[in-house]
Amino acid sequence: MPKIEVDEGRCKACELCIVACPHKVIGLAKHFSPSGFHPACMANAEACTGCMLCAFVCPDVAIEVYK
């Protein structure tokens, strides 16, 4: 199943991936990352198509995509 992995050490919760995802897969996690952000996470994992649009826009190269 397609999925993304967010490197929580890099994510800064900018939410750009959230709006980039055409399938509204991504949300922000409740927990804090080491640097004090609520990192991005798959809030709606099933919808992911592995299209990589989220990774394209992530300014911190925090997302890797599997398909």
């Binding site: 999925k3 800064k12 980039a20 300014p59």
Partner: protein
């Protein structure tokens, strides 16, 4: 098992980037890094970090790096390319760096047709120093030195760098792109790759202007900032190719 279809490029180091959340520099770094990897030029590339937020680029690009004086990237690139024509030289610069203090170096390296590549990040603001007006700040846009909004009567109209350079014979490839949407990111990548390819092929001066966002100094959330790119920046700074070998002016 799933295959990794999108992985971090070896063109970047492992060091996490210290840019603000949502800052455009990060994506642009990735695109350059991927280009270095994909064209297999990483180990013979020397990158030039500007003075600006991306002065830290010297920690992020996984190639030899140099950090010179504010605005002088193209002069440094000239010095390097002339003595190391076998190396790929790129200068990464902000709008203050390239279009304000470094204007003369920009124009003259372009006019000389130096076989170098410039990655020009236009975020319409001086990021590093805390949000002062840039030569590319839009009319009416507030900054810490245009607190009532840029008044073209006093501060002039913003400079369009690609248009400015396009009358010169030296540049062989000039394109303006943006990184506000996935689609634009893909186009930006193509432009960056092409610019490096031009250099690899020894054709001459290439520059890609990338419209970027600075959420912090625009006093916006990252999402608002990409909105401004679409609604205000791109209308003033039309995207497109301004010079290329195919369609010479």
């Amino acid at each position: 098992m799933e295959k990794k279809v999108f992985a971090r490029t070896k063109g970047l180091t492992e060091t996490p980037m210290r840019y603000c959340p949502g800052c455009g520099h990060g994506v642009i770094h990735r695109l350059v890094g991927e280009t270095l990897e994909e064209l297999d030029i990483r180990e013979r590339t020397i990158g030039i970090a500007p003075v600006g937020c991306s002065v830290f680029a010297d920690e992020y690009f996984n190639c030899d790096m140099i950090q010179p004086a504010h605005g002088r990237g193209p002069a440094v690139a000239t010095g390097m390319k002339r003595v190391r024509p076998d190396c790929i030289i790129f200068s990464y610069q902000g709008d203050g760096d390239l279009a304000s203090i470094g204007m003369a170096e920009t124009i003259h390296s372009a006019a000389r047709g130096e076989n170098i590549t410039i990655i020009f990040v236009n975020n319409a603001i001086y990021g590093m120093t805390g949000g002062q007006m840039a030569p590319t700040t839009l009319p009416g846009m507030r900054s810490t030195t245009s607190p009532f909004g840029r008044d073209p009567k006093v501060a002039g109209n913003p400079i369009r760098v690609c248009e400015l350079l396009s009358s010169l014979k030296g540049p062989v490839y000039l394109e303006r792109v943006a990184v506000n949407t996935p689609g634009n990111v893909v186009k930006a990548k193509k432009a960056i790759k092409k610019a490096f390819q031009v250099q690899v092929d020894g054709l001459g001066f290439s520059l890609v202007e990338i419209i970027s966002q600075c959420p912090t100094d625009w006093a916006m959330t990252p999402l608002q900032s990409i909105g401004r790119v679409k609604d205000e920046m791109i209308p003033y700074y039309p995207l497109g190719v301004f010079k290329s070998l195919e369609e010479k002016k």
